[in-house]
Subunit: 241 residues, 2 copies
């Protein structure tokens, strides 16, 4: 776990910008110059070819070549050889089901935690990096074998975290109410609500909030807390969380 | 199936009104005077006692006594004896898990389809009446054994259906995009998006849209269609849908 390096991004695209524009500096800082090829996992979207083209085009401008796991003859072998991993956003249920169907969950965990392969996730790709996908916003369009995920950190993330709209007349639950309902269930881990524009950098036992927006932390039985960009969130990596 | 009677409501509370106010006339028309006691299923919310009190108070003003399944020594027996069933809203995953944990899914299906017991659902309670909960809006806070639901109709519902907000800067998928993603998966049934204020009345092989708002129908590989209150949607009950 000392080798663990993660960049968990709330959202792939920020309003008014292009794909991964808002986090491109953090991506370059994260993968650095040692990594030259990144293994992309496009499982969260239906059109994997188109998705891979988009990721490949963008990451090329940052100096990285992209191999997609769906183009590999053996996906497990592709993970075993990867210098860096990027799991893109889309539907979290579809993503997790495909990761299990291709036997990649344990393999990715091993590569990241034991071999120190840097892992970047965006939206659904951040959800699956955590304990479970119990706090995704997505529609359950397919059923994965379990909601347990790769487990690279001991807490959950809610990407695209959204504050209530005071003018809304819609009566569906707010995001906060949904996360509170999660914490009505026993032994549920804390949930970091990453607003669009924010991301979490994890290096070994250190976690830092990056980006342009605050994050909101939900802990079972405690009041919620706001954290500004630059905050040290390393306490989330201890077992108690 | 000729005996089937369902009232599937999009939302329990409409903006500016009280609990079940917006559909109280339809509830009275639906259960009528033959039904005197309604079996309430509060499994979608954590505080079942408080939820039952709310349902009991409201339905009493409409002339019905309420028994809650969570107060029964034997939930299956309570369903077997029920004159009418009402499943309330809340979290759809929690609701479906509790229905399976208490062996009620098959029992309710039998009572409604074979014995003609009237079934009212609201929000999550409408989701579980359909083929599956694949088109719920809720957070997957617990994992039911399957997403397959009671199956009283051969299509799915999206309750609280929401049109895109043209002014939003939020980059999460719109409701329509989410349902489109569901239809990227093979052999997925059509989805009736019930906006807040609308409800579907099913009597045998006849289905009618009631309430104050339009519904939007999504069919795999076809363009979406809008239906006004009063529309005959009986075609949804045939096997082709």
């Amino acid at each position: 776990i000392m080798k663990r390096r993660l960049l968990l991004v709330s959202n792939s695209t920020l309003h008014g910008g292009g794909y991964l524009d808002h986090c491109q500096q953090q991506i370059k800082d994260f993968f650095g110059k040692q990594v030259t090829r990144i293994l992309f996992i496009p499982y969260a979207l239906h059109d994997r070819d188109a998705y891979t083209r988009m990721a490949r085009d963008k990451l090329k401008t940052l100096g990285y070549e992209v191999d997609s796991v769906h183009e590999a003859a053996d996906p497990v072998e592709a993970v075993r050889k990867a210098e860096g991993i990027f799991i893109g956003g889309g539907n979290t249920f579809r993503l997790l089901k495909n990761l299990y169907d291709n036997n990649l969950v344990t393999e990715i965990r091993t590569r990241v935690l034991q071999d120190g392969v840097p892992y970047m996730g965006s939206s659904a790709g951040s959800n699956v990096a955590t304990v479970s996908i119990n706090t995704t916003n997505d529609m359950p369009i397919v059923c994965p074998p379990t909601f347990s995920a790769i487990g690279l950190v001991p807490f959950n993330i809610n990407p695209h975290y959204l504050d209530p709209d005071p003018h809304s007349r819609h009566m569906g639950e707010t995001r906060e109410q949904r996360i509170m309902q999660y914490h009505e269930e026993p032994e549920t881990p804390c949930v970091l609500g990453l607003r669009e524009g924010s991301m979490l950098l994890v290096e070994g036992h250190k976690a830092t909030l990056l980006g342009s927006t605050q994050a909101r932390l939900f802990q079972r039985g405690k009041t919620t807390t706001e954290y500004a960009p630059g905050s040290d969130l390393s306490f989330l990596l201890t077992d108690a969380h």
